[in-house]
Symmetry: D2
Subunit: 345 residues, 4 copies
């Protein structure tokens, strides 16, 4: 049994992680930590889980004293909060999977520019692995510090990776128009995300300035082999869960739909969690699962390719992917605990 | 392995049943039948299930020819459509679980009055069992024809049963004010249930005339030992899933909250799927599960008791309960395939 | 021109009031006051109103200095906050319409019990009028302090008044099962009313203890002529606006549907804002209007009458009714500025 | 008084038109025609409008016999259905405003390719005017056949027009990623637009093939002076109303944000219904209004400009714009009957 601790267990991503870990047959939860709900049981915070998850939420100091009892630490905190904890855990030989942003950007400068913070342990960046298994499965196996990708980057990078690897599109032409459910904004007191403020409306936000932009750029640049700068525009949608990323790129040369399909199928041949679809996906197809549904389409009229990806922002976009990374880290079946099928309707 | 066939597999209840059966370790699906989608694969109709449920939907005549291969037949058809199929299946020694209304009312007259149809096999009514395991578990074990309860009756009867068994309330005072998500109206072309007709609104419907009324009355009368007539008012709510039943009754005598809690806890002590809650439940607590959450409260000011029950209308209110009945029928663990936890948010 | 000031102008009810006043041809807004958004323009807080409402929000002390310039003061503050302001305004000869709860209950004791506060000016209670024009139109004309009714009480009292006036139902049998959109909870930072906490769910809340209970009881008791205690159960529904109140009462004697219809039609014959409907109303029928839609139905099977009322909680349930009261106070056409038709869909 | 007839009055756009005409002080409705609801009163179909709109819906033949009584005919029918009616009305000297697609494309070939229909009166195309007042106000004044623009084209063209007129962007780089509420799909029996099929999900549809594409291309080409081919991707969003169009184009040369703002402000200086905003708009800001909210932003990092427009698809995207066109045609104030402010929340 893998012994796990979770810091930040009562945010939306954290609690989804706990949900998944509780069902995982190879994992034992050693502790759940929560800053806001210390000394409450988990089901006091989430009455959904009554009878199923009755663990007490402990504070972070008590949690740190239990690091010696665990094999893996999941951290689901706001950015800038993971530095010390990560160092402590690593020093004790505990593997760390950080669901936050602190170890995703390889460039300390980029981190400090986009997040407006001094990076507290940039020495760890070289060893950390960007935890997108479809790209870095082999590196993840060897690592002890996994930077779990952001939700938008997961959807965007998976949509674009085959195009970039094959250098089919002009790297300066990439536009990602993404749409997210409101749980992406987190579970915190906030007028902007009140029901009556989000329902019956849609908006773009953080246009040209969202912190997931450099993360996406870093990864697509890596794949392509050159620095890429792109447009990424997130939108807020009146639904709880789900991200749809509609991605555009100009084709360098003509390519048939069939060839393009084959390129994607080959690229993701061994990736259980990527489903290539015959039609453009809907977010409900992947709701509550770790799947990423993809459909790619050549639009010959305009010489452009359009790829749409759909994920559940809390699953493949956060907690599900964290479990997938854990499975790889501990050399168990990558799909373990993640064989989930969306429920209709 | 239990060999199962499903008639009416592509309605909302039917497909939820297929979803559950696919995950059930003791069941093999022999056929899925669908009138509207014959010769399509299941995942053509429900793209959610791509890769997971690729069975072909067959027509009902082809299905009937396979009755000899199955142990249990699930029927999820509109009322009035189950008579012949049920007879054929029973004659071949196949157990039948009917998710429709045709065998729920013991009185042919009541059926014909409320449904406006001649009952096609009232001779089977005596042997059929109302499949609410919390009340009839022992009878279900012995039966081969289970009338799976309606969604509103499940929520209502479970809420009221302990009060009636203990004769705590005036039987003429019962009011059930119930609220359902839109999936309860089924998956059929209908202007009334279009998104833009249901969103941002709520209404009562079928007031005083809903067909679940006699079903609830039959069962609460059985428990109480006298004929009971009650008010049942369903409402349509802008959400996909869930039923909340707010039930009122006048206390015959004063009773403390503690005594009432104990009565409910005792009544449901051995019922895994009933969760007694400390607070009034929300439908999201049981979404995607076979649970029924209950909270009961004495209102001394008015000498009345209020019970609120929450279920998922497609699970404990339909397909989940059908699986629960199947488990009992085949003498396997009642919770098998139903150990589901709601997902937040 | 009526000169108006508004205290608490940026809450949901307050801003709806401003919206209505801006369109009202007989009113000039002298000031808008807001505690949370002092020194912002109104359209900074509500970008919807850009170009239309560009007034600056002033603080309450600055507002008080302008009392001498106004004819009427609207107060939309949390309970317990209106006492001093009201006294100051009245002393200056300004008429006051209080959208809050501070002057609704005639009994200081009831106020202090249900609200847990000492009443700051119970001497004003005798002179204040409960501003439900359908009941108190003549008294409103003579008053200078109007206690604008709560949203649930408006829907409930209008539904029940004719039954009680005619003493058709047993006063001990009244049950009001009410459902409200989320704007009823106000525009404040609150995890409970986040989109992802309310969407796809329904719950009862404050069962047996909601502060609108004594308000409803006071008014129905007045109509009936005896003290009435009743059950009132509010529910939270995933929509922005609207209240549906489903009201039940036991008939003392048989009555025909036709007689009942006539009683309601007669009762509300001169009330523009009450629409008697042929069918049970839906909240979308009155959305964005000051209307109250009503349908009443005898259920002979159970000897009970069911009345359903639908209002917009921010309009007839708050700001619209306040305007209606203002129109009456200033002796202009009661419908002025309120001739609004719901928009479909 | 302008005497108006409406064909297709009970679809979502048609009924919104009736709603607006009823409030319009210069218009008298002579007839409402409806194929699906002939001989019902309007408020039987839309109970919202009870008491306000009690006209009887007449059939189309009866309607045609009344053409001699009207000044203007509004047609809100599916494409391919307007040809004969338009000819008849024009022959009688009646001005026609067609909310459908039959007269929008100037090229018969494009119409026949994209709509798969033979055009029934291509001789009228030369004289018809594309009814986007912000571009064609002067031509509209002179015309008697107005092709009222589609909802997506209205949002898209208004967003892009200043950029194209000033030739600031590469015409081959245009991408329009648009999002619409479900009312855009019309009020017809359809499983795809059931509540439970749309709620809690988002999808792209008709990617690269939506019929609004050639309409947008025609107009932006006209403005730019060269044939433009662009990407237009519509998405379906779980809300009733609203379109948000997120538009991208590559800047030919650097331009400051200030210059760009000035270009837009100048372009729309005399257009009441276009609001230039300081921030990216949300669809709720324009809900229930004829406004188009716009914000434009230079993203220097990528040398691209992003414009977001928000409209109400049934107002500026259909019925509101039709009224605006009528006002221009009859030489009355363009804003008459359209001075509507969105309601929050």
């Amino acid at each position: 049994m893998i012994k796990a601790g979770i810091i930040g267990s009562t945010g939306y991503a954290g609690q989804q992680l706990v949900w998944l870990l509780k069902r995982h047959k190879e994992v034992e939860i050693i502790f759940l930590s929560s800053h806001s709900y210390t000394n409450l049981t988990f089901s006091d915070v989430y009455p959904q889980y009554d009878r199923f998850i009755e663990d007490l939420c402990i504070d972070i100091h008590t949690a740190e004293n239990k690091f010696s009892l665990i094999d893996v630490l999941f951290i689901a905190l706001p950015h800038g909060k993971s530095f010390d904890i990560t160092k402590k855990a690593l020093n004790l030989g505990v593997k760390v999977i950080d669901l936050g942003a602190d170890f995703r950007l390889k460039s300390t400068e980029a981190y400090e520019n986009w997040y407006g913070l001094t990076h507290g342990c940039s020495d760890l960046l070289a060893a950390s692995i960007y935890g997108l298994p479809e790209l870095y499965r082999e590196n993840i196996k060897e690592s002890n510090l996994i930077a779990n990708p952001g939700c938008y980057p997961t959807a965007s990078i998976l949509a674009l990776a085959p195009l970039l690897k094959e250098k089919l599109i002009d790297p300066n032409s990439i536009i990602i128009d993404a749409k997210s459910g409101v749980s992406g904004a987190g579970r915190k007191e906030n007028i902007q995300t009140l029901f009556a403020e989000c329902n019956e409306s849609i908006k773009a936000y953080a246009v040209g300035s969202h912190r997931h932009t450099p993360e996406i750029e870093q990864e697509v640049s890596n794949i392509y082999g050159e620095n890429i700068y792109l447009s990424f525009t997130p939108h807020l949608i009146p639904m709880n869960r789900g991200i749809l990323a509609t991605c555009y790129g100009n084709l360098k040369e003509k390519i048939t739909q069939e060839s393009l399909n084959k390129i994607y199928e080959d690229f993701y041949r061994d990736d259980y969690f990527v489903r290539m679809r015959k039609n453009f996906p809907e977010t409900r197809w992947v709701k509550g699962t770790n799947l990423c549904d993809l459909h790619v389409c050549v639009d010959e009229r305009v010489g452009r390719v359009i790829v749409v990806s759909a994920i559940d922002n809390l699953m493949k976009g956060a907690a599900g992917q964290a479990i997938q990374n854990m499975n790889i880290l501990f050399n168990i079946n990558e799909t373990h605990g993640l064989e989930l099928m969306a429920m209709a309707p």
